[in-house]
Amino acid sequence: MILIFVERIYTRPPRSHNVILEPFDYLSPRLLDEALKEAEKRGEDFKFLAGGQSLIPMMKLGLTRVSCIIDLKKIRELSFVESSQRELRVGALVKHVELERSPLVKSSIPILSRAAGAIAHPLVRNRGTIGGSISLGHPSADLPVISLLLDAKIEVVSFRGNRWVRARDFFRGPMVTDLKTTEIVRSVSFTIPRGKYGWAFRKLVMSHGDFPLLIVATMLEVEGGIIKEARIALGGVGETPLREINVEEFLKDREASEEVISKAARIASSDYTPPPSPELSSGYLKRMIEVYVRRCLKESSWRGE
């Protein structure tokens, strides 16, 4: 083992582990306007920081290099959960743990609370935020999948104003979103699902707390044994999280029977060829799409009845 003697630790980090090499400036404005103005002034070479559960590892691995970090955590106005009759609006800085425990979220959109509580493990949930997760746009991340499932609208702001983007238009590619460098997600607005519906959320992970290899989220509205509306969102099967429109259309107005559900799951599986993970082959994952979609649909149908 090589011991590196470091004289003044705060100016020279040790090199025995991953460290951020390039120096960067750090700002933590207290007002949203200040942050947006600063971003506008800088234009390119900076990153917004929220919970940091992806950005900081990426910086430590040298995958992201910037000369300035604008930390948003001190901006109080970005941390709120509010609901009206029809909508639940969640501020960008709401942490996963808060989303998981919020009575308002639990009662109005239980699947959102469930998904937030299934992200990684508690030490990550205590810090990660919904805005961060949505902005990163990882193709197999929990909240982007749920935002698609619920047809969420994402509020994007910059110094020049704000705009609302539908979740299905927001995710553009693997970790590519509709966000421009100087824009941030201010809030995410979910329409509270009405009527009698059942839901399910499942994911395939190699071990508890790992990054998911496959996420399936479903909602079924069943009336008198007939499926009135079906929603299926998938994560990890393509370049972005996506809605399985094909199967949704197949299920509409069909009987919520075991046979129909099995057929639907087979269609879902035939629609994708997921990339292999280091541990699992593409074929295995393809088969898992069928298994997980079937389980989710079944669970949704009995929850909805």
């Binding site: 705060y10 991953n18 951020i20 120096p23 940091g52 030490l123 205590n126």
Partner: protein, 168 residues
């Protein structure tokens, strides 16, 4: 690219107000271990997987390897050193010892912090084993003492629920 950027930060560490200059590139783990010489947070995986570096920031357990030191400005940080002492271990620490919830001890500071974070969030209801397993899932133990760790946390949760130990 310019030279290092140094920021002056102030925060509360184990109940004491502290201030120091930090390089913006440092993580909280670097700061605690190397500048403050607090050796309870361990560098395990260094990527938010193992929980050995866990510390409490404003009452919640987080991985200090994945937080910039500058981010703690104005926060309250508690490490294992701020909890109980060898002479006077707190009920959680006592339960760990009595129930043999450790072997090599490397992960134990993180386990105690993870458990404390969970205990701080407890409500009135009784806790289930499943709940405790989920709550402790961010802390890995390579010696495999999970069963005893879970038992120790459940026992302490009961103590907290009965109001015999006030954490706050």
């Amino acid at each position: 690219m310019g030279g290092p950027v140094i920021k002056e930060i102030s925060f509360k560490l184990n109940g004491r107000p502290v201030s120091c200059p930090v390089d913006t590139r440092l993580t909280l783990l670097d700061l605690l271990r190397d500048s403050f010489r607090l050796k309870s947070p361990k560098r395990g995986c260094d990527e938010t997987v193992c929980g050995a570096c866990a510390v409490l920031v404003d009452g919640r357990g987080i991985c200090s390897c994945t937080m910039l030191a500058v981010e703690v400005e104005g926060s309250e940080v508690v490490t294992l050193e701020g909890l109980g002492s060898e002479e006077e271990p707190n009920p959680l620490q006592r339960a760990f010892v009595e129930l043999d919830a450790l072997q090599c001890g490397f992960c134990t500071p993180g386990q105690i912090i993870g458990a404390t974070s969970f205990l701080l969030s407890l409500g009135e209801e009784e806790v289930s084993e499943e709940e405790v397993r989920e709550a402790m899932s961010g802390n890995l133990c390579r010696c495999g003492c999970y069963d005893n760790i879970i038992k120790a946390v459940i026992r302490t949760a009961e103590v907290v629920r009965r109001g015999e130990w006030k954490l706050r």
